[in-house]
């Protein structure tokens, strides 16, 4: 399941972020933790935010920000306790607090700096958009998509949405010829189209190579290396024991002879 965000259709009502807080039981009273360059950023009680931008032509644009749900999520690959997993059926990158050890490697790994941490909690968890995986698995749209009245958010099959996005771009010359999220870090479930260049709207320029690719070549050898190393050490121990045992036996024999 994927979502296509048409930035030209957003009027900034923030119904999506309210629907998110309502559905996920987040704290409405929590003060914003991160404000960067005048833009409200995600935090542990804001899994999605609407950011306001004034373009070079003084046009007003609103950009929805949340986890993009990468096809090859770096956060999930960084997590050694499998607390972040990509759901096979829905494509959502889902966080399981019961498995989390709180190391925050995911926060470092994410190319978009999406995962946030509950700094105020005694037993903190990581916080990020779950793409309403519980709704997706029932066949419902994510809460934010359901709440959108202007059609700025539509959900559906990823391939079909990509096709649709390119059709929209081809039919209207105002659009920038770029579907953000189609190829970025290997592609994501969330896709954006816009009439304003994405750099002007705070979108990060990232490589098309999945982050996981960089480490795959050697990290994939780690299990074999670790197993080999353990075998090697075990062998070494066994050998040392034998040498020592033989030496002891020899010593005992010599002692007996002396006696």
């Amino acid at each position: 399941m994927a979502v296509l965000v048409d930035i030209t259709k957003c009027i900034g009502c923030e119904g999506c972020s309210v629907a998110c807080k309502m559905y996920n039981g987040l704290d409405f009273k929590a003060k914003p933790r991160n404000i960067k360059d005048g833009h409200l950023e995600l935090d542990d009680n804001r899994w999605t935010v609407i950011q306001e931008f004034h373009t070079a032509n003084d046009d007003l644009r609103f950009v929805k920000k949340q986890c993009l749900h990468c096809l090859e999520p770096a956060c999930a690959s960084a997590c050694f306790s499998k607390a972040i997993q990509k759901d096979e059926k829905t494509g959502a990158v889902v966080y399981y607090p019961d498995l989390c050890v709180g190391c925050r490697y995911c926060m470092v790994a994410c190319p978009y700096s999406i995962p946030k941490y509950q700094w105020n909690e005694q037993f903190p968890q990581v916080a990020k958009c779950q793409m309403c995986e519980s709704r997706l698995s029932k066949g419902d749209a994510p809460a934010c998509v359901s709440a959108c009245t202007t059609g700025a958010l539509i959900s559906g099959d990823r391939d079909e949405l990509i096709k649709k996005a390119h059709e929209i771009i081809a039919s209207d010359s105002r659009y920038v010829n770029h579907v953000y999220g189609e190829h970025e870090v290997g592609g994501s479930e969330w896709l954006y189209i816009s009439d304003v260049p994405f750099e002007e709207l705070g979108f990060k320029q990232v490589s098309d190579t999945p982050v996981t690719n960089y480490s795959k070549s050697y990290l994939s050898k780690v299990p074999f290396f670790a197993a080999g190393w353990a075998l090697f050490l075990a062998g070494l121990t066994y050998y040392n024991h034998r040498v020592e045992k033989n030496k002891k036996d020899q010593d005992d024999e010599n002692k007996d002879k002396e006696d």
Binding site: T8, Q85, D98, R135
Partner: protein, 493 residues
């Protein structure tokens, strides 16, 4: 000690729990994902693109001077969209992508429609309380006609209770230095607007149809959507601002108070007024006409904060110089009222005598019909065709017709809110079906029980022209009582 933990035992426990943990994880146990602990209204169940009756909400920008919203109270019921789109014709009537503004005329109908109280007026109660407590400031308050027949509801009175005198008493008890009546400046507006209309009818025919401009929601709507009709708008300021400008000039001079030491507060049934008072065009000699606007609901909060009960407070008259009013000024609060009042005085201005009795109970312009049509025959001027329209969605349809076929009317009254000011966005909230009719009935009852029913008969109006403004449309009147408009079309289109 016998139960001392040895190093070996400790390592066993750690390694053991690690193995168990890994086993649990490898077996597929992962607990619940985070989130999904809350709720969402029923219309959001199912696939996102299922058609539903009502959903979503209107956009309210941070710097909107009229309204604000508490997200925690918002239940995404969609009632605000319904009001904004189908009653006021704003939402959905501008193209996307946005240009440089989030469209809002400030009418506040969404605050009335919002069932959870999430959308409210942007409150100025604290500002007004601070001004009252500041001894160096002379705080003047004026009350709009529509608030006099609705404030009682906030204190448990029957809908349509006339509480003008009680309100004046309550405002004096709350510590305001002078209490004036916006009905007075409504009479002043009629003097100017009727003169302007007669002038346009006879000498400036390109400015016909004459469109009224006392409703700030409608004025902003016209600036947004029909800038080509801006020259048809009456240049008269709204009664609120005529009062404000008069207080900071005529009254200040008379009382020997510096205009900068006067704080002008108004009690309005309206949230768009909060936008209006910030307009740069509504300044004379670098003095803002008005400083703060309180809605009827805000006034109720302020009075309760001060411990004043409207039921028991002593009645009081409005203060003189700017306190006398006629029945014509009072009916401004109902749809059709401005028209009826203007025609009474236009008749007098054209003929020199008061109009016939049927123009004092002019049924065609009264009532809740979306667009009302009437005609009045004024000797010397001829027959004037008039339309009265309330609710901006009705206005949109009417104006689109005019754009296509031209106007058969010479005078059109527009009020943004259904029913006129009595149904304003700052009025007490109620779910009674006939509440607007009751408020309207109360307003017309005030008119018929008034001794004087024409604006030009107001003796304080006569003396203010004698002492200060000269005559309607004089140079001084143009300076203080007339304004200009801003083309806002390209902010949306």
């Amino acid at each position: 000690m016998t139960n001392k933990i040895s190093r070996r035992k400790f390592l066993k426990v750690v390694a053991g729990s690690g193995v168990v943990g890994f086993g649990v994880m490898a077996a597929g146990c992962k607990g619940d994902p985070s989130g999904a602990k809350g709720w969402i209204p029923d219309q959001y169940q199912g696939k996102g693109d299922f058609p539903v009756n009502l959903k979503g909400r209107v956009a309210i920008s941070q710097d909107n001077p009229s309204i604000e919203r508490d997200d925690e109270k918002c239940i995404l019921c969609g009632q605000c969209v319904e009001a904004c789109k189908n009653v006021m014709g704003v939402y959905g009537n501008y193209p996307l992508p946005l240009k440089n503004e989030v469209a809002c005329v400030g009418c506040g109908q969404c605050t009335i429609a919002c069932p959870s109280g999430a959308i409210t007026e942007k409150r100025n109660i604290q500002d007004v309380l601070a001004a009252i407590d500041d001894d160096s400031k002379h705080v003047v308050v004026q009350t709009a006609p529509a608030t006099k027949v609705s404030l009682g509801e906030e204190f448990g009175m029957e809908p349509g209770a006339s509480v003008g005198k009680k309100m004046a008493g309550a405002l004096k008890a709350a510590g305001f230095d002078a209490v004036f009546d916006t009905c007075f400046s409504a009479d002043l507006t009629i003097m100017e607007e009727a003169s302007e209309f007669v002038h346009r009818l006879t000498k400036a025919k390109d400015e016909i149809p004459h469109l009224t401009s006392c409703c700030p929601g409608w004025v902003k709507y016209c600036e947004y959507f029909y800038p080509e009709l801006m020259h048809n708008l009456s240049t008269c300021k709204s009664p609120q601002n005529m009062m404000g400008a008069t207080i900071k000039s005529f009254y200040a001079e008379k009382k020997g108070i510096k205009p900068e030491n006067i704080i002008n507060v108004s009690i309005m049934p309206c949230t768009a007024k909060k936008f209006e008072v910030g307009r740069e065009e509504l300044q004379v000699d670098d003095q803002r006409d008005m400083d703060y606007v309180l809605t009827t609901r805000e006034l109720a909060v302020l009075l309760k904060h001060k411990g004043i009960d409207l039921n028991t407070v002593a009645e009081s008259e409005y203060d003189s110089v700017l306190g006398e009013s006629t029945g014509a000024g009072k009916i401004f609060g109902a749809t059709g009222g401005v028209t009826e009042a203007a025609v009474r005085t236009a008749y007098y201005l054209a003929t020199g005598s008061n109009p016939p009795a049927d123009l004092f109970s002019w049924q065609p312009v009264r009532g809740m019909k979306a667009v009302k049509e009437a005609n009045a025959t004024i000797p010397g001027v001829g027959t004037v065709n008039i339309a009265v329209c309330h609710g901006l969605e009705n206005a949109r349809q009417l104006l689109n017709g005019i754009k296509e076929h031209g106007s058969k009317w010479q005078f059109i009254e527009f009020m943004a809110c259904p029913g006129g000011c009595i149904g304003g966005g700052g009025q007490p909230k109620s779910s009674l079906p006939d509440i607007k009719q009751k408020r309207i009935a109360a307003i017309y009852k005030e008119d018929t029980s008034s001794a004087k029913r024409c604006s030009h008969d107001n003796t304080e109006i006569q003396s203010i022209y004698k002492e200060f403004y000269g005559k309607p449309l004089s140079e001084k009147a143009e300076k203080y009582l007339h304004t200009s408009f801003v083309n806002r079309h390209d902010r949306l289109f």
